[in-house]
Amino acid sequence: MSEEKEARSSNGTKKALELVRVDGVSFKYDAGPNVLEEISLTIYEGDFLALLGPNGSGKTTLVKVILGLLKASAGNVFIKGHPVEEFEDWPKIGYVPQKATHVDPFFPASVREVVAMALFSRSGASLKKRKEKEKAIVTALKSVGMEDFMGRPVSRLSGGQQQRVFIARAIVHSPQLLILDEPTAGVDAVTQERFYEMLQQLNKQRAITILLVTHDIGVVTQHVNKVACVNQRLTYHGTHEDFCQSEAFKAMLAAGHLVSHRH
């Protein structure tokens, strides 16, 4: 039996499972100063959580600690109730890293191959399940509106299209949690708007919990339902409505750490 905990969801009406629990996590690189200090937060099933913070505040580091790519110097991370070191069901966690769109222009990968590499590398390419997997690839690409680009080399797509393909790769396993690290950096405002609408659909229609690292205040006010602010320490964690009234929000706005792409 899983040790997943149940708790009230953001709207308080239905019970939600605890997907990720970060418990007193600190992190430092070698003998350097702490990049993260005693961070504790919980991500529940159904959340669309924005992780905010200035440059160098430790957002990406926190994401990497959650994913087990970096080992916390203190504290623990639990995914679906399991310590991250023992967690094995990684296909249930989709991840689109920062700078994912810095694609090597000489890498000859088609859109289909980029999505397939995630699907087949975890479960092999047995002929028996091949049809099912091909279907999953098409479904994932349809979810992000890229099904007509299957045979196109990914290096010849625009930044926004590439980002959609990487999200398709991250959701092809039908994950419970999707983590995106600054996915719209370098993408124009109109494309960003469509992109966030797509994320909202994934969150609502496919019930995928989302953790989104961003600087964009427009996203926070219109799309997410929860916000966590990190600046070495956790300065805020709660609903987005409360966040707009919080000291953390005012401080970030005053320091120019938030941007808005809405006009």
Binding site: S110, R152, P153
Partner: protein
């Protein structure tokens, strides 16, 4: 062309050469995309030390070189991890040491120079039947090993961080790839020699990348270029009395050149 049906030594050379070159091209494509192409060059220098050791101890030089190169490939990975060196620095350390050992042993033994030359410049036409089977077996194992891990290697090469987050172990595949490179380099050494083995890893793969719009196409084209280079190179070497290694490499370069020009024409 009739010569390939008449002479046993040509058949052996062709058989082993095709297997080894195709293995090199498939592995080379992954190395090129990982920007690790020079690892082949470094391990070839290490293999030179292994060949010299084999000749010095009167053991089978190809097998000794294989053992030494595999050990060195493991040491390169460990040195990278423990000494915090970049990959190319760790390779440079071992390639220099391998070459130095080779020179030292050749000097001490006095009579190794002629044998060593055949490994430096390749001598595919003089390949022994046992070496043919060793080459074919190992080349097939290299290709099978890559194809089994095809998607994982591709994911790790394309986006290492996302692949790690998806639960793919980079350490295991890095070790596997380095060991496979060591094996392939030693096999390629017999075909084109230590000095030109990098060409067998790099040129068919570079040619394959010119027109491919997906990874599978690049793999097939690279393997095709490797096949053509060995077949055409050996035929040219036999017909015009040329050194086989140089003919194979120059033909591979010519095909690369043609595909490169076609790519430019396609773009503009």
């Amino acid at each position: 062309m009739d010569a390939f049906f008449t002479y046993g030594f040509l058949q052996r050379a062709l058989f082993a050469g095709i297997f080894v070159a195709v293995a090199c091209s498939i592995l080379g494509l992954i190395l090129l995309l990982r920007r690790d192409a020079m690892i082949g060059h470094g391990l070839a220098h290490v293999a030179f030390g292994g060949v010299a050791l084999g000749l010095f101890l009167n053991m089978m030089p190809l097998a000794t070189a294989l053992g030494v190169a595999v050990l060195a490939s493991w040491a390169v990975i460990k040195l990278k991890e423990k000494a915090g060196l970049h990959g190319d620095s760790a390779i440079a350390v071992f390639s220099s040491v391998g070459m130095a050992i080779g020179i030292l042993l050749a000097t001490l033994a006095h009579n190794l120079n002629v044998d060593l030359l055949s490994f430096l410049f390749g001598d595919i036409l003089a390949i022994e039947p046992i070496e043919v089977w060793l080459s074919v077996g190992l080349a097939a194992a290299v290709v099978a090993s890559i194809l089994i891990n095809y998607h994982q290697l591709m994911f790790l090469t394309f986006d290492r961080e996302a692949a790690r987050a998806a639960g793919i172990s980079p350490q295991r595949l890095d070790v596997q790839l380095t060991v496979l490179t060591a094996i392939t380099v030693v096999l390629g050494m017999k075909v084109v020699g230590i000095l030109l083995v990098t060409a067998l890893l790099v040129m068919p793969a570079a040619a394959g990348l010119q027109l491919a719009s997906n990874f599978k196409q690049a793999l097939w084209t690279s393997a095709g270029v490797a096949f053509l280079s060995v077949t055409g190179g050996l035929a040219a070497a036999f017909a015009f009395d040329l050194p086989a290694s140089a003919a194979i490499v120059l033909l591979a370069f010519s095909i690369f050149g043609i595909l490169f020009l076609l790519r430019r024409r396609k773009r503009f």
